[in-house]
């Protein structure tokens, strides 16, 4: 049975109202500055870990390899990255004695750890992992308490010279969420429970380190340990 003209008018009025509300909500969402969150409860796919074993720095022929499991929002990791790593870099890595492997170990209590790790992963796509990694650690006090860490990481991305269109697409896709989680789970399996933790020749070293301690460690291991790859 056909509806009365009044009934049809009422229906089209309601339909129009729903359309206006829907378009308004979509428009509002589009006008908001894009924030990014990287999920932790991802299903890890084989492609997430295929061929990827962390971010490497140093010579392939270095006698010692150290794997660092760290969290961008962890204060000790920040101190280590900004105060100790430059010396380690100059003294051991650039001299070919040490190869450094960085793995993400984002702790649950840190809301921006995964976004930071993802930002560095997106920088890696453009061959600028280490500059972005260092910039994120340098700026930890700025973004750790901010309302939108992702926005600050984007500014760092611009500073280190990333193509922002590619960076934005990478961040929005969340494509490295699985890889970050895989790294975290691998750390857990190795026995990592706090950050930073170093894995050297199959042994875990937890606590606070300085460049002198790392140098002594490399000195003690160099004659005995070959590549841990």
């Amino acid at each position: 049975m056909a509806a009365s003209p009044n009934g049809m008018t009422r229906f089209y009025t309601i339909l129009g109202a729903v359309a206006v509300v829907g378009l308004g909500l979509l428009g509002y969402q589009l006008s908001k500055p894009a924030t990014v969150s990287i999920p932790a409860n991802v299903t890890i796919q084989p492609a997430d870990t295929a061929g990827f074993r962390g971010y490497l720095k140093g010579s392939d022929s270095a006698a010692v390899e150290i794997t660092e499991f760290a969290d961008y929002q962890c204060p000790f990791c920040q101190t280590f990255a900004t105060l100790q790593m430059p010396t380690i870099d100059e003294r051991l890595i650039k001299t070919g004695r040490l190869r450094w492997r960085y793995r993400d170990f984002p702790l649950q209590q840190h809301p921006y750890s995964r976004v930071a790790a993802h930002s560095a992963a997106c920088a890696d796509e453009q061959g600028k992992f280490w500059p972005q990694h260092e910039r994120i650690y340098e700026g930890q006090s700025e973004w750790a308490e901010s309302r939108d860490g992702a926005d600050i990481f984007r500014r760092y991305a611009k500073e280190v010279g990333l193509d922002l269109a590619k960076y934005d697409a990478c961040m929005s896709s969340g494509k490295y969420a699985g890889r970050i989680q895989a790294s975290y789970e691998e750390g857990q399996r190795a026995g990592v429970s706090s950050t930073p933790t170093l894995l050297v020749g199959g042994r875990l070293y937890q606590g606070r380190f300085d460049s002198d301690a790392i140098t002594r460690l490399v000195d003690s291991l160099a004659p005995r340990v070959t590549s841990a790859r």
């Binding site: 049975m1 589009l30 500055p33 894009a34 409860n41 299903t43």
Partner: protein
């Protein structure tokens, strides 16, 4: 006609829900209003695409098609016709089957629930029910 109107309204809501998810997949919306975190897990998983096409885009096209058919079915000239309601029911049945497949993936493969996907499942199911009620109310075709 009330059932056809209901189906049109629900289809329009479905258009907006799937458009929202599609804009997220395009990277135009930073975070989904979800609460559980399950939405992003589902939407960034490999199963957010079906045969290379974003599931949200399939939903958007599907709901737009349902909306068009429901609006055509509301034309006074077709008010007594049975086929528009039958077409609506057939399309909604396809949508429900596809939704069942996606819900299975969420529950047993991805192991995360996207509230917007649950919302879409309720919408497509309600469209099917409304289309079946419209079909039941439509007059039987005359013999001869």
């Amino acid at each position: 006609m009330i059932y056809r109107m209901g189906a049109a309204l629900m289809s329009l809501v479905g258009v907006f829900v799937s458009a929202y998810l599609y804009l997220y997949q395009l990277g135009r919306i930073g975070t989904l209003a979800c609460g559980s975190g399950g939405c992003e897990t589902v939407q960034t998983s490999v199963w957010s695409r079906f045969m290379g096409v974003e599931v949200a885009l399939i939903g958007l096209v599907g709901y737009a098609l349902l909306l068009s058919v429901a609006l055509v079915a509301l034309r006074p000239a077709l008010a007594r016709e049975r086929w528009p309601a039958a077409l609506l029911a057939a399309l909604a049945s396809g949508g429900v089957l596809f939704t069942l497949y996606l819900t299975y993936l969420e529950l047993f493969v991805i192991r995360a629930i996207c509230r917007w996907c649950v919302g879409s499942a309720v919408i497509i199911l309600s469209i099917l029910i409304l289309a079946l009620l419209a079909l039941r109310r439509a007059p039987e075709p005359r013999a001869g």
